[in-house]
């Protein structure tokens, strides 16, 4: 019984416990609390890593649960994050969850707790949260060292445009800590007593090696910092495509975009993944990658290109058929073959694609960078094509590209080859023209021709042949060969007519001949002259058709202005043409161009038809004529400018404007019109409308008035520049009469003055001689006639010269008579010798009063020397050799001849004979009246200076010994007479 009771009790207890279990697990909500919660800090990603388990789960039981996680910062009550994490939980499973903190974890302690709830549909009443786990603390500050200042996060890598939070932890609690980014202070928020955070928003890329962010205490010399790395945002690869050149290798290319490489982060990598085959390859290059085509004839490919760096991944995919992505390789060995003047064969090769694949090749022919021919050729390996219709002697470029025929995807790159076609004979005759002129009386023809165009030359022109054929008499053909690039030649002809053939030759042969006929007549016939109007397109030249048959016309002109050498130009025109437009880039406004129109006869001879002149654009005259004023009267004057050339002006001169400024208040004459000049002055203008009238008479002027005139030509555009006016003053009305009287009078006076001047010496002698001649004095005649008819005048012979002092010159100087320069004697004197001029001893009256003259004119030294008191007159016998002078007549004759004009011819010092003093000698022809025995001198007077003495004032000359003779002394001696 007891055993039964025990068994029954045990059974009931077991049943009760089973019942309890079922109620807990299946029917009643069970609180499954997270257990073994562990928190770890990952500084690299600034993450909190949580792991926990739920031990209460039954074996093999899987429940879907929700874990609510709370994160607090600094203290448990400061919850900053709550998140529900749903997952399926197995028994004994270690669950993981991570949370990335914006604030660097080193800057703050974090507290984490969680609770759970079953969120499984199999348990309908399972909405009860478990209890919270206990708080777990994650404090990275404990890992820091002992530095006073730390800045976090270290080596942070972020993308451009993102937000970053930086913080510092200060062990020394100071407020004066400032932080800087790129030299600019940043401001943050103090989170704790020792922690301050800075939020940098939308950071931008600065440099690959990062940016220093630092904080420093103002006191203490503490500085901490980090390096922030800002990466460019990884971009999705663009233009991703794959193609093959040989169906063996696929080449995929893309545009990688920006390089995101930094010191902290390598450049983004690229991985190519093919989904059908499941293969992948890491690309070695930034923008292309090769993929080996499988041998299992896979045709469709689905590629995914994955770009990734530390922060981001980007991918792009393409799906294609291999045969539709064939891009053939560039053809090779492109060569010309059998190149002729007009055709050539091109050959080339291509790289084969697969087996028996056909390529479509495009052959293009270019000249001067323009495609002129295009041909499509289908080939397998070797290509060949005959190019025709080529131009001789032309450089061509042939190029070939190919594409896969089965599915066109892309042309290959071009291969190019240059070649030149061969030369051919010129296809057209040169354009020839001539110019006839007379040179030294012989007709001379200048032949000009234009070089053949490249199209017609067909090669390099080597020379031109000029064949001259006399049409009037049979003669041998004359052939001239003129080497290129000459464009003209000159032929001297006679009066006959000649036919001239000109051909151009290249290495292959001659061109057709150009024929022209010339005659000996230069053809300066007078023809109609006209004007031609210039337009923007050129000169529109027209002419009257030539009467009779004309095979054509030629218009000839010079490209340059008239004053420059003529560059002859011509234009050939058809027989039915009577007008043309001559255009040239050389035409300039304001330049006159002359055109000549020739008609070409059936005999190939040219006849001048018309002459035209014109301006591309007429301009106003650039300068004014040089005006000459003439015929000035009191009422008119004439203006003329005959040297002004109307031909060389920048427009057709239509006439002239004569401007005249009248005197104030005067009205313009009837023929003039009143006009206002640019400087607001009023003047009168007269218009001459005849360009050839180059004189103008200005009339109706007022006498003694000032007028200003100015002449300027005018063209259809305007008149010449406004130059300065020329002033002219009209004379008095009677001034011309006065001029007729005064001028002859002035002339006569001048004549008289000239005569007086020329005869002044004569007049002097006549009117006021220096030493009056009594014989010539009119007083004498008066005295004679009125008082004493027997009155005579003392003759010069009355005064006998007494002595000549000869100075002995040791050098043996020659003694000369002044004036005659005749040698007196060769005798040398050792002492001063006195030359007695008296003919006899008895006539000598001994020492006594004498007349002494001193003439400063001749020798000042000598005159100083001269002193009457020291001038003894010693009677001595004259030396015999002085015989010729002993005769007083001879001596007087010599003296008379040389008086007045001899001394000046011999400079003092040169002559040995010094003329110390001089007496006025009677030079009249009264020699016969000279007394043979002159009276002895009775007076001695001292004569210092010669001067003219009026006759009335002159003392009466001494009768006996007045100075009527002169003596010349040689040397520097003294003189006395």
């Amino acid at each position: 019984m007891a055993l039964f009771a025990v068994f029954q009790t045990t059974y009931l207890l077991a049943l009760l416990s089973l019942r309890t279990y079922e109620s807990e697990v299946l029917s009643e909500p069970l609180p499954l609390t997270p257990e073994s919660l562990k928190v770890s800090v990952n500084s690299t990603c600034q993450c909190l890593h949580l792991q926990w388990t739920v031990h209460s789960l039954a074996y093999h039981q899987e429940l879907k649960m929700v874990f609510q996680i709370q994160i607090s910062r600094f203290k448990t009550s400061n919850v900053i994050w709550v998140e529900n994490y749903s997952t399926t939980v197995k028994q004994n499973q270690v669950l993981h969850w991570s949370w990335e903190s914006e604030l660097p974890l080193e800057c703050a302690a974090h507290f984490i707790r969680m609770r759970s709830v079953v969120d499984d549909s199999r348990i309908p009443e399972s909405g009860f949260w478990s209890n919270w786990s206990s708080w777990e603390e994650a404090d990275a500050q404990n890992l820091l060292g002992h530095d006073p200042l730390f800045v976090f996060p270290k080596d942070k890598l972020v993308e451009e445009g993102s937000n970053v939070t930086i913080c510092y932890v200060s062990r020394i609690h100071q407020d004066n800590i400032s932080c800087y980014l790129e030299g600019v202070q940043i401001h943050g928020e103090q989170l704790d007593r020792s922690v301050t955070a800075f939020e940098l928003k939308n950071v931008s890329f600065i440099r690959k090696k990062g940016t220093n962010v630092f904080c420093k205490m103002e006191q203490g010399g503490v500085l901490g910092g980090i390096v922030l790395f800002v990466s460019k945002v990884l971009q999705e690869p663009k233009d991703f495509s794959c193609e093959t050149q040989d169906l063996k290798t696929l080449t995929c290319t893309w545009d990688p975009g920006s390089d995101t490489g930094l010191t902290k982060q390598p450049s983004q990598s690229y991985t190519l993944f093919e989904s059908f085959s499941g293969k992948r390859t890491l690309c070695k290059h930034r923008n292309w990658c090769n993929w080996q085509v499988a041998q299992d004839s896979q045709e469709t490919y689905n590629f995914t290109l994955l770009a990734e760096n530390y922060l981001r991944k980007r991918s792009v995919s393409i799906l294609f058929n291999l045969t539709q992505r064939v891009h053939p390789m560039t053809p090779y060995n492109l060569f010309p073959k059998n190149v002729g003047a007009t055709n050539a064969t091109m050959t080339w090769k291509v790289h084969s694609i697969g087996n028996n694949s056909t390529l479509l090749c495009q052959l293009e022919l270019l000249t001067e960078e323009k495609v002129i021919q295009q041909h499509n050729v289908s080939i397998k390996v070797n290509g060949e094509y005959l190019l025709s219709e080529l131009e001789p002697d032309t450089e061509y470029v042939a190029r070939v590209r190919c594409a896969y025929t089965k599915h066109f995807w892309k042309w290959s790159e071009f291969i190019s080859q240059k070649f030149n076609t061969a030369e051919a004979a010129p296809s057209e005759a040169p354009d020839v023209w001539r110019n006839m002129k007379m040179v030294s009386g012989h007709p001379t023809v200048s032949l000009f021709w234009k070089p053949l165009s490249k199209v017609h030359a067909n090669g390099k022109i080597l020379f031109y042949n000029v064949t001259v054929e006399n049409l009037d008499k049979p003669s041998r053909l004359e052939v001239l060969s003129i080497p290129a690039p000459a464009r003209s030649t000159e032929l001297t002809l006679d009066q006959c007519s000649y036919q001239i053939h000109v051909t151009a030759h290249n290495s292959v042969g001659p061109s057709p001949a150009s024929v022209i006929v010339v005659s000996g007549d230069p053809g300066n016939e007078e023809v109609e002259k006209g004007r031609v109007n210039g337009t923007e397109d050129g000169f529109s030249v027209s002419w009257k058709p030539q009467s009779g048959d004309a095979t054509g016309y030629v218009v000839e002109w010079c490209d340059g202005p008239q004053d420059l050498p003529c560059v002859l130009q011509w234009k050939n025109l058809g027989p039915n043409t009577t007008s043309t437009v001559i255009s040239s880039g050389a035409f300039r406004p304001g330049v006159r161009y002359n055109f000549r129109i020739y008609g070409i006869s059936t005999k190939r001879m040219a006849h001048l038809l018309e002459k035209k002149a014109g301006y591309l654009e007429e301009l106003a005259p650039s300068d004014n004529p040089q005006v000459v004023m003439s015929n000035l009267t009191s009422h008119s004057f004439t203006l003329s400018w005959k040297d002004y050339s109307t031909e060389s002006q920048p427009g057709f001169i239509q006439g002239y404007h004569v401007y005249l400024k009248p005197k104030a208040g005067e009205q313009c004459h009837q023929a003039f019109e009143k006009t206002v000049l640019p400087e607001d002055s009023v003047c009168c203008k007269y218009t001459i409308d005849n360009p050839e009238q180059k004189t103008f008479v200005v009339e109706n002027l007022q006498p003694e008035s000032v007028y200003e005139f100015f002449v300027t030509p005018y063209t259809s555009v305007g008149e010449g520049p406004l130059d300065a006016f020329t002033k002219v003053t009209t004379p008095d009305e009677y001034s011309h009469i006065l001029i007729r009287i005064i001028l002859p009078m002035v002339f006569c006076v001048l004549i008289v003055m000239i005569i007086c001047y020329l005869k002044s010496q004569w007049l002097k002698e006549k009117c006021y001689p220096d030493i009056p001649d009594p014989y010539k004095s009119s007083v004498l005649s008066l005295i004679k006639s009125k008082e004493n008819p027997h009155l005579t005048i003392m003759n010069v012979n009355d005064c006998v010269p007494d002595a000549i002092e000869v100075i002995n010159k040791p050098e043996g100087s020659k003694i000369q008579f002044l004036g005659t320069r005749k040698s007196l004697t060769e005798t040398e004197f050792t002492k001063p010798a006195y030359l007695y001029l008296l003919p006899t001893e008895k006539n000598y009256s001994g020492p006594g009063p004498c007349i002494c003259f001193e003439n400063f004119t001749y020798n000042q030294a000598a005159s100083d020397f001269a002193s009457c008191g020291h001038f003894p007159v010693t009677p001595q016998a004259p030396p015999p050799q002085l015989g010729p002078l002993t005769s007083p007549e001879n001596l007087l004759k010599a003296l008379e001849q040389n008086y007045m004009n001899s001394l000046g011819e011999i400079p003092a010092g040169e002559a040995n004979l010094n003329y110390v003093s001089q007496l006025a000698s009677p030079t009249s022809g009264d020699k016969d009246s000279l007394p043979t025995n002159p009276p002895e001198p009775a007076l001695c007077s001292e004569y210092k200076m010669q001067m003219a003495i009026p006759l009335g004032l002159a003392s009466a000359p001494p009768r006996e010994n007045s100075s009527l003779s002169s003596t010349t002394l040689l040397g520097q001696g003294e003189h006395c007479s």
Partner: protein, 202 residues
């Protein structure tokens, strides 16, 4: 160990490229014989003096080049970032015997050589475009290798010292970029200061 791999080991390989290269310097008894592979230069001390003078003359330029390449705040905060506060730097006594000075010089150059190796490695990553700095660092390291060889030769030939215990600076490979820059700056500042004293002592 990283410092050995990055800076010290290459240095030692160059310096001791002979039998047993790659192994740590053996600690031989003091009275052990010392043999050099090549005969020492006849004017060895002059060589050492010249090398020291060369290092001394270029130390300042290297220092300036370094802190300029690091960017702000380094050039304007040398006292805070580049002060020569290197605690474990080998000592040098200028008034010691020649042997003692040579031994201390050997330790200093070995220390500096290893640190320069670290700095050069770091700067090639952190400042890849600072070619002049790289060049200057390499040139300095080259001279140091020559100097170390000469000092060892002198110690061996004259004082029969076969080995010297050396110490190396802190490994920078695990440090953050800013700290690498700072440590390098401090080391070069210390180098500039020490090399002047050492050059003066010889």
């Amino acid at each position: 160990m990283k410092v050995l791999a990055a800076g010290v080991v290459p240095l030692l390989l160059v310096l001791h490229w002979k039998h047993g290269a790659g192994s740590p310097l053996p600690i031989t008894p003091v009275n052990a014989t010392c043999a050099t592979r090549h005969p020492c230069h006849s004017n060895l001390m002059n060589q050492i003096k010249n090398q020291l003078a060369q290092l001394n003359s270029s130390a300042k330029a290297l220092f300036i080049l370094y802190y300029t390449a690091q960017g702000e705040p380094f050039p304007n905060n040398l006292d805070k970032l580049c002060s020569p506060n290197v605690t474990d730097f080998p000592p040098f006594h200028a008034n010691g015997t020649e042997k003692a000075r040579l031994v201390e010089l050997y330790r200093i150059i070995a220390y500096l050589g290893a640190s320069l190796g670290n700095i050069t490695r770091d700067q090639k990553v952190l400042n890849p475009s600072a070619h002049s700095l790289h060049s200057k660092l390499n040139a300095t390291a080259d001279v140091m290798r020559g100097l170390l060889s000469n000092v060892l030769c002198r110690l061996c030939s004259k004082y029969h010292v076969a080995h010297v215990d050396v110490a190396y600076g802190p490994d920078t490979s695990g440090k953050d970029v800013f700290q690498k820059k700072k440590l390098g700056c401090q080391l070069l500042g210390k180098y500039k200061q020490v090399i002047a004293v050492v050059a003066q002592a010889f």
